[in-house]
Structures are given as C-alpha cells and as structure tokens.
Point group: C2
C-alpha cells in the first residue's frame, strides 16, 4: 500500500480525555477515532491489526475443534428472563423495544443465546461435546467509559461456549482451551501470564485469566519463576505460616502508651518507632449483614474477593464509623482486640506475630506487647489479604514475582448454571436426562490491540509485535524527487510484496524527519530507509524495537527480512 493513498491521519496531539499510552497512541497514530463517549471508529491501520488478531484466534480455535457460529446481536428478552439475568444485569445492558414493542437487549455476552440453540438441537450424549465460538460485537453501557478501547461501550470479542456430558469432559475441554489460549497469545507475540482467577459466585477452581504484562495494567498478579504458579492477587494464596515454637516464652508484659491523635498505622509506626509489620490492624466489615472483626498485619491489605470466598459471602463492605462504635463500643482508630464483644478473625499474616502493638480500646492510647492466645482469642485464621512480590510461592515456597497486567482472556468452567436454568438437557448412555455441563471462554479482541500497545511502546510511539503489526515493513524513500532513490524504493517495495510481506511505501513528498516520526509513531517493526547510498545500491534497515540499524544491499532486503521475521 502507498502511504499517499492510505487513510492514516496521524496527529501530534493526544486527545484531552486520554489517560493511558494505548489510548493516546492509537489516536495519534491514526488507528482509532472517537465517535462519542466509549464509541470508536477503527480506521484502516486498526482494522488490519484486528483482522490479524481474529485470524490467529480463528485458526487456533478451529485447530482445537471449536466451530464458528454467527449469532444475532439482538437478544430476545425472553431468553434473559429464563436465565434470570434480565433484571439482575443492571444498566450495563442496553435494552430496547422493536416496532412491535417486544423487548430486546444488545448482547453483552451470549450464554443465553447459545444455550437456547443447543438445547433445541442436541438431545443425546452422542452429540456431545460441542464447542461453539463467535467473533463479533458486544455491548456494555459502562457508566464512565474510559481508556479508549480498553473500556469502551462497543467492542469486539471472541466468545466460545462448550457443552459436555460430564464434569470430567468439561474439565478436559477446559485444559484444551487453556492450551489453545496459550498458543494464541504466544502467536500474537505478546508477553502474557495465565493466572488462577477468582471464580466469583459460581465457585469451583476452574477459572484462569490471561493477562498481558504491562506496567500500566489495571490488575495485579504474582507468579513463581521456579514452579510456574501464577495467580491474580484477587486469588493468590498465602502460605499458612507455622505457629512459632515456644512463642509463649517470648511474651512480654502488656504496656499502655499515650498516643494522642495518632490513629493510622503509618502514624503509629512513626510515633512509636515500630515497623508496620509489628502493628495489628483491626478492621470491621459487614459481611452479608453481619459485623465481623478482622485482624491483619499492619502492612497488609484486605483483598475483598478473598474475603468473600473465606466467608462464603455474597456481599462484603467496610462498616461505617457509626457502625464501628455501635458494634465494638470502641472509638475508631484505637480499636483493641482485647475485650471486644465480637469474635476476632485473623489473617494468616497474624500467626507469626509476637509482642505487637494494637489499639487500647480508648481514645489516644495504644497497647504494646499484645499477643494473640494470651490477650485475646482468635475465632479462626483466614486467608484474606493480598499476596505481594517477594512472599513465598504457595506451591514451592520460592519468592513470588509481582507484575501488573491487562486481562485479555478468561476461561471459565460454568457447570450447570445455565443448562439447569434453561433446561438444556441430554439423555446419557443409561437413558437418564441430565443437564449439560458448560464452559465459556472469552478473548477481548479490541482489548488485545490496546494491550499490545500498553506492552509495546516508547516515547516515539507504538512498537507492534510483527505478528499483528498493520504492516510488517515500511519502505521510506527520503526524497521522492531523486530518481535513483525512488527507483530503489519502488524496487524494494515490489520485491517485498512479491515475497508476501505486508508493506507500506511512504511515497509522500515530505521531509525525511517527518516520515521517520510517522514510521516510529505507527510502530511498524521494520523500516527500510532508502537514502543517498541508493545510488551505490545500499539501503538501511532500522529495527523499531531495538533501534538497531543495519546497512544492506538493495537485493539483500528480502533475504534479511525473511530471516528476521522467520517467514517467506
């Protein structure tokens, strides 16, 4: 393609509402344009990236035995009412009426649609398993869309749903999809981790998120470089510490100290010159309507997903200041585990603590040398705080590494939630009618594009993995008025096209600096710069990612790129 005829509207300025690199760069480099809040036009460069991502996904899904379908975007309300999600989905689901006043939704996900199809067509175990996928538009009416393609209201998703005659077969397919997703993200040229994820209300242990590693990611994850364990911090388990032997031998006498106006852990730590690790943090939660006192080591944070799981709860929230005083009879900021009218639940991190600082239960005082077991009893030790880098791997004990990531894929064993609600049953070998066991598997296609930019960029622009770059190579004649330069550029351009590469020729009549800036901004992995030495048959190859530059003979370009890209 010739740049002069391509629709690539690059810009110097980032949009005012752009907060993260992918949003800024995809707009500046001419990949997307905003239509309205959370709605984007994907321009030709962006469409090329999307089609390449889709192609890899399609090939790998087919290879894994999944079959493509195309379901309507208009979902009849009746199906969502059957599953019970019509009313609970909330305002994120866009609802509308047709000309006959019938209710519909714009599909945010398609469990109901696919379950309806399969229950009507599949009757016997002989027709199972089945894995059906689609690639298309999804809608979520975010209250505050932001981050460009990362959280838009209309987006492209690959969603797959599998149906099985047994739990074991659903698990087999789960791992088949795990492998398939790993292959997909590898082929897309992305650094990623598959992490164990929280399964939310459905429970069970089969849920993995696929995270593209990027400093700007919304999610935190930890992984073990030794054994491969990886989990989101919502899910990562703490190793339960041993109770130190002979801890009672170390106990010292409790001492009350005056701490006027000192409430927060950091303040207490500074005021008493005690590390945060040796201070007990007490929090009051309301868990499914019941007050619960939670003790944790001062330097740790509660992870609500883990808290929900530990208490098998639907809803958790921090108590208000008023509730705290009502429940405990103590002032906020000086809560003491000693003499509380409520049982104390303690995080694993509290187990090794000895002679720690805690509130005194009255304003402006703390206690030193408090010890659980002696001064107060613990109802139960629970795993409710976030695991951090450096802490031991729950599988092998090696120190964990902490990273930030962007969720781009999610695989999930659904079980029989939808098949039971909607009567998707089959007759097994013994003639018994049973609900099908389901799994679901999603990839955010537009999100992958944005995540690739979060992972690959520098101050000059985007750095695409070659696998999904809009073009693999750009040929840049530095001066389109010099005949020998134009001739050499045209020759390289047509040779590269013949060899099957995706090539852009920057044939614009513009200054070289201007062209180089655009090439860097767009992020094409390989730049062939045709300059003065063209008359000697020599051109320059610049590698976008490393900045490395090589001089090459004109007829060596195709060979060198075949070697670098590993194709052709």
């Amino acid at each position: 393609m010739r740049f002069s005829r391509a629709f690539i509207p690059t810009k110097k300025e980032s949009p005012a509402d752009a907060e993260i690199p992918s949003h800024k760069l995809l707009v500046r480099a001419g990949f997307i344009r905003k239509v309205a809040s959370g709605l984007y036009d994907i321009l030709p460069l962006g469409a090329r990236v999307i089609r390449k991502i889709e192609q890899v996904i399609r090939q790998e899904m087919e290879r894994a035995g999944a079959q493509e379908v195309i379901l309507p975007i208009m979902h009849p309300a009746e199906l969502w009412q059957e599953s019970g999600r019509w009313d609970v989905y909330g305002k994120e689901m866009i609802k509308f009426k047709d000309r006959h006043e019938r209710d519909y939704a714009l599909g945010p996900t398609a469990e109901e649609m696919i379950t309806d199809l399969v229950r009507k067509e599949v009757k016997s175990y002989k027709e199972l398993p089945l894995n059906l996928y689609q690639i298309g538009r999804k809608f979520r009416d975010e209250i505050r869309p932001r981050f460009g393609l990362m959280r838009s209201r209309e987006f492209i998703m690959k969603d797959a749903y599998s149906f099985h005659a047994s739990d074991e077969d659903a698990e087999r397919e789960y791992w088949n999809m795990f492998e398939t997703y790993s292959r997909i993200f590898k082929r897309l040229g992305l650094e990623f981790k598959a992490v164990e994820a929280d399964t939310g209300e459905i429970g069970g242990s089969f849920s993995h998120e696929f995270m593209v590693i990027a400093d700007t990611g919304e999610s935190k994850l930890v992984y073990c470089p030794e054994c491969g364990y990886a989990a989101s911090t919502e899910k990562a388990q703490q190793v339960r510490p041993e109770v130190p032997p002979n801890r009672e031998g170390e106990f010292e006498a409790v001492e009350e100290v005056h701490t006027p106006g000192i409430r927060r852990i950091e303040e207490v730590s500074r005021f008493l010159s005690v590390p945060q690790k040796r201070i007990l943090k007490l929090l009051v939660y309301v868990i499914d309507g019941r007050p619960v006192v939670l003790a944790l080591r001062g330097d740790r944070e509660v992870e609500e997903a883990k808290l929900k799981k530990a208490f098998n709860a639907k809803e958790v929230r921090l108590a208000t200041d008023k509730e705290i005083e009502e429940f405990t009879g103590q002032p906020k900021g000086y809560l003491s585990p000693v003499g509380l009218p409520l049982p104390v639940y303690a995080d694993y991190s509290v187990i090794p603590m000895v002679n720690f600082v805690a509130g005194a239960g009255r304003a402006d005082y703390h206690l030193k040398n408090v010890n659980w077991g002696r001064d107060f009893s613990v109802a139960e030790f629970v795993d409710v705080t976030e695991v951090r880098g450096g802490e031991p791997c729950p599988k092998c004990g090696a120190p964990l590494v902490e990273k930030r990531g962007i969720e781009v894929g999610h695989i999930f064993k659904l079980g029989t939630k939808y098949s039971e609600a909607m009567g998707a049953t089959f007759v097994d070998e013994q003639g018994n009618e049973k609900p099908m066991v389901m799994g679901c598997y999603g990839i955010g296609v537009t999100r992958v594009m944005a995540a690739a930019v979060e992972q690959g960029h520098d101050e000059n622009g985007i750095i695409w993995p070659v696998e999904i770059a809009p073009f693999e190579v750009i040929v840049i004649p530095v001066n389109v008025k010099k005949e020998e330069i134009v001739e050499a550029a045209e020759r390289v351009y047509s040779e590269l096209m013949e060899a099957g590469f995706d090539v852009l020729l920057d044939d614009r009549n513009a200054r070289p600096g201007f062209k180089f800036k655009d090439a860097d901004l767009i992020g094409i992995p390989y730049q062939v710069i045709v300059g003065k030495k063209a008359s000697e048959g020599v051109v320059e190859l610049k590698i976008r990612r490393s900045g490395e530059r090589l001089e090459l003979p004109v007829d060596g370009v195709v060979g060198k790129l075949r070697e670098l890209i590993g194709r052709g």
Copy 2:
C-alpha cells in the same frame, strides 16, 4: 472435519413459515436456525460460507484500492439529525436510549457515520479520493420479516463509501466499483447481471444493481444478449416507436358498441374478439396531488418507478373510484379519451396503435376505431410501462431476454447529498471550499448466501458453487465397520486435506442412503464415495451439480479434484 464431531443438525422437515427454497433448504441442511422473527443463528456450515464470501469481497475491495474500517453499530442520533434522516427513516430503524438517556440508532446504513469521520479528518483535495468499506451487521426492523435470510432484521452487509474532489473522479470510482463487483460475483461462482437501476429521489444515471439470476427472484430484469444492455424492469427503457407513415389513411369511422357489464381489458378483449394489444387502457393517477390521465396499450402495465421519473414526481398513486368519477365525469371501466376534461398522457406503446377500442365514456358502451390525433389529442408521449422479454433492446434493437433476479449488490453515485447536509467539504487546488462528491456501494453478504441457494438447488437439496461451498469435498465411507473401507476413506481424507482442500469426512455409523441424502442436502460439490471396491483400490466420485459419477483409483482422487476445482 469429521461429521461425527461437527454441529450439522440436518432435518427432514422444512419450517412452517418457509416459503422459498433458500429458507427451507438452509434450515433443513443445518446452515441456519431461527431465534425469533427475522433473527437467525448462523451455524458452522453457514459461517463457513459467510467467511468465504467475505474473504472474496475483502480481497477484491483491497485490490481496487478501498480500505477497511470498523465503525460502531451504535449510531448517535445527532448525526442522523444532521442529515435529516432521523425522522424520515421511519420504523425500520431501531432506536434506543443509553443509560444517560441519549438517543442512538442501530445502524441500517452508515452514510452519516462515515461522512462524520471523513469531514473531521480530510481537509484538502490532496487527501482525496478515499474509498472506505466495512463488513458487518446491519439492522432493519422489517414490519413482516420473511424469506429467511433474504429479508431478515439483522444481516451482514459490506458497505463502502467513496469521497472525491470532482464529479469525474466519482464517476471513475463508480466504474472501478462496477468492475470490482463484477469480479466479486464471478469469483463467488454466481450467474449474475449488472442492471441499470432506478436512482430514486437522488436522480442521475449512476446506479446499478447486481442481480443473481434465479426463477424465484423478487425482481424482474431484461437484458440484451447481443449488445449487453441490461436493466431492471423498473428502469429499462422502451424504444420510442416511429409514428407509422400514412396512419391517417388507415383510419376507419368510430363505432359505438354495447358492452353491458364489460369493464376489464380481458373481458372487453373476449367479448369483442379483439386482442388486448388493440384496446386502449386508461388509468387515472394522482401525481404529487394532481390528477393525470394515462393511456397505454391494453396488454401493458405501468411501472411506478418510471412513472415517477417521467413526471419528476415524489409521490404517485392510483386515483380512487370516487376521484375518477370526480376528475373525469365518466364511470370507471368505461373511461374514454374522447371528450375528457383532462389532458391525456400516453405511453410510447400507444404511438403505433390505429383503430383501437376504448371506453365510450358512459356505462356499458365502448368505442371501436378510435385514433389518437383524430379523436383526441395526446398532451405528451411518455415512457412509463414495464419492458418485457422479446421487446427490442433500446441500444441495439435485438430482442431482449427477461429473467428474474435477486438483488445482492447496489452501486450508487450519491453526489453531494450527505456532504452538503453535514458540511463535508475540502479545499480544492484553487483554494475554494467545496462539498465532496460521494458514492456508496453495498453487498448483502447473508443475502448472497441465500441467493446462491435460490440459484443452485434441486429436489434433493443445495448445489453450492465450489467457491463458497462450506466444504469442497465430502468423503463418504459407506460402512464404517469394514476395515478396508475405513482405511481407504481415511487415506483419501488426509490426502485431500494435505493438498489444501476443505474436506468433510462422513465418519458416522449410519446407513449409506442416509449419508448420501445428507451430502446431497448440504450440497457439497464433490462426493467421494468409498464402497465395496475400496478393496480393489477404487472409489467413486459424484459431481453434485450434474449427478455424474466417475470411478477413480484411490490415488487418483487428489489429481482429479485439482483438475475439476482448478486449484492445488
């Protein structure tokens, strides 16, 4: 792919609401399933066909210099208000509100969206021309969806829009798209005609419809086998006949005849033993509110699109019985051109008529030997009736051929309608600001799938063109319990796959007749039947379209199919 693992739910019965072959067969053969009125799931076989159609379209559009974009399906109301179409589009457009009560439409077409994008990004003639296309979902809330995919509420369309600095350049692109569409439909393996189409309210002469020829088609068209002229009957022109020389010499005296209760042309023809061609048909229309009397040859029909054009009218309708008597003072069924209080407009077909029959202007009487010019005057001769097969070609005079067709593509020179309404202007070489000249170009992707079935089917099922068949070849072992049959079938299957063909292996444990029926129904172009002679290394190749059967050695299958499909 193995049939036993594929989701191909074939059926014996057609759905009750299916009226046309494509609807019946696509359901029976397991390509689509109805979700709700006008909404269909496209199953794996159907998705394979759609993807192949899309691939051909994408390749040819890119080759023609068009660039793919992906625009939102949610269209902000403001854009449609700017073009003036928000209120006029009517109930076919699905409208809804988001959570912030802002208005949106589900895009039925994207002129507004694309014009908004281009007006914001393109400022100079240097950035033109531009042709942007997308392939995706479109929505039309049909009052009575029917004919399966042929008139559904949600469908897949390729829509392209081009922008130009001059009328000439828009015309150049128009013909570029004309050629591109011709290549696309040829590559899709369809028999089609590009016909001149009515341009409706916009006017001008640049509109072609691409019609897939099928007896069940909704539209009629005529074409000239000699010179290539082709037009929809809405648009096809009549040759204006010469006034016969010396016609006055043939005039005979007017004679009134008693025709009690005889009103309709067929009745008059029978009663008086006069061919319909020699009877004058008089019709009263209300054209933009004004009464108009139209005379035509008795065997012809008015084509309203041509009538509108001839009178440059927005709205035409037949007058009511009451209006007829009011306007003419004569009773319906006996209208006479003689002594009418309104001028008479006559279709070209009236020009050669001499001594014809017409109403007498009073009940129960007709006139014989009426002649225009002598007995009444014609205000103007106009071309307002439908051209039929056998009539002369307006370009070369050879007899036209009449066919029925299904509109699958439409190209259109839009002019400046949208660019003027929405301020999509550019600065030309002389520094003047001008509106861009636009064109638009659509292909109904899901409709192409249905049209291919209307064109290609017989009593046993679908006959796909090999270019868009879900699979090119099906290998059918007649008995999966005989080792030598299974072995030969597996060998042919893997050799065909290695050679790059799309192959389905019917590995189901079922009777041969059952498998043959499914293969015919699904319509796979080539069937390799592996039967008893497998032990001698011989298989049978059946060609679906012709029914022809060939015996082949097992190792001759790949070669023969390469020859037949012309690939590999």
